[in-house]
């Protein structure tokens, strides 16, 4: 019904290249290759297209593949924030103990570290002190450890690199590929005899 068999040639060639034909179909395809130059050229084209897609497809991952990265980034943020909060709590607890024990040895009753009010106060105080210390620190010291913002920046940079410079080396190499006549062929043509089974390179 108006079906143009020619339009199926590229699809058939792709299926052959991709190994999507059963042995009988494959045999039939090869039989047709013996007499159909357009089918041969379609096959060469399918190989090139397949190879090229395989080379560049990694740059264009679909959303489903990209999502885990975002999730991972969110989890990383949560993990870092949790670790920071825990560190602050520990530092605050030791600081509180230290300062309460030294100047006021007479005080017999220390607030328990399991007391929520005590912990909240410790965290609040330590946070304030850390913020103040941070403001007083020289700028260089601030960059000793990556902040959450740095992590995000680093990830963005690497993504940016991938986008701006995809396969930089490979692509350069491919661009440089000029088909040159191999030495074995020149030698064979000059002598006019069948070359031995040497590597074509």
């Amino acid at each position: 019904m108006g079906h143009d068999p020619q339009s199926d040639i590229p699809w058939e060639a792709f299926r052959y290249v991709a190994g999507e034909m059963d042995s009988q179909e494959q045999q039939q395809f090869e039989d047709r290759l013996l007499s159909d130059q357009s089918l041969r050229e379609a096959l060469a084209h399918a190989v090139e297209l397949t190879e090229a897609v395989a080379l560049v497809a990694c740059e264009l991952q679909p959303l489903e593949v990209a999502r885990p990265n975002r999730r991972r980034r969110n989890w990383a943020k949560v993990a870092i924030a949790s670790a920071l909060a825990a560190s602050v709590a520990i530092v605050a607890a030791s600081w509180f103990r230290h300062h309460q024990q030294q100047p006021e040895p007479v005080v017999a009753v220390h607030p328990s570290s399991s007391d929520p009010a005590y912990n909240l106060a410790a965290v609040a105080m330590t946070w304030t002190q850390l913020r103040q210390a941070e403001r007083q620190q020289p700028a260089d010291d601030l960059h000793e450890l990556p902040s959450l913002h740095d992590w995000a920046e680093a990830e963005l940079d690497s993504e940016l690199d991938t986008e701006l410079d995809p396969d930089a080396v490979a692509f350069e190499t491919l661009n440089d590929v000029e088909l040159t006549v191999p030495a074995w062929l020149i030698a064979a043509a000059e002598v006019g005899v069948l070359p031995t089974e040497e590597s074509p390179n």
């Binding site: 190994g19 080379l55 491919l174 043509a189």
Partner: protein
Amino acid sequence: MHDNRERTTQEVDIREPLDPAEIAALYLEHGGELRRFILGVVRNRELANDVLQATFAKAVERGHESRAETRKAWLFRVALNEALVYKRRHQSHLKATAHLARSDRSADAPEDSVVRGETVEKVRAALASLPPEQRQVVCLRIYEDKPFADIAQQLQIPLGTVLTRMRLGLQKLRARIESEDK
């Protein structure tokens, strides 16, 4: 017998063997496409190079028996015959190395690359312009080398839909590349 000899002398362009410059020109003009074609048949880069060499060895030896205007088709036919012989001879090895999509492209020497730089550039642009659902199937099938059935299962869509998306995606890629060639 006599008739046959007469027809042979009429049909075959009896000349001296092709000179090195003609062979080199043939290689430069058709070598790349032939290598891709052969690779499509044998699905193994090393074997493809061997077959290409054997093909041009035949061209050195008997290329002059073909007519200049049909020499490309002659080369392809020789390449196919050689490729099929090699393929049968190395069947077990070829099965072990699996198919084309799984072969290690990154290990290619530049001269063995079957993809031209400009094609990569065109495919990159064409792939980006595909509708996401088609690009997704194309990438999963070719880049991740997943069988269509697995893709259908992963995306929870009918197999027919996967095939349609793949087919449309390839059509668009091809059309885009060809339109840029013109």
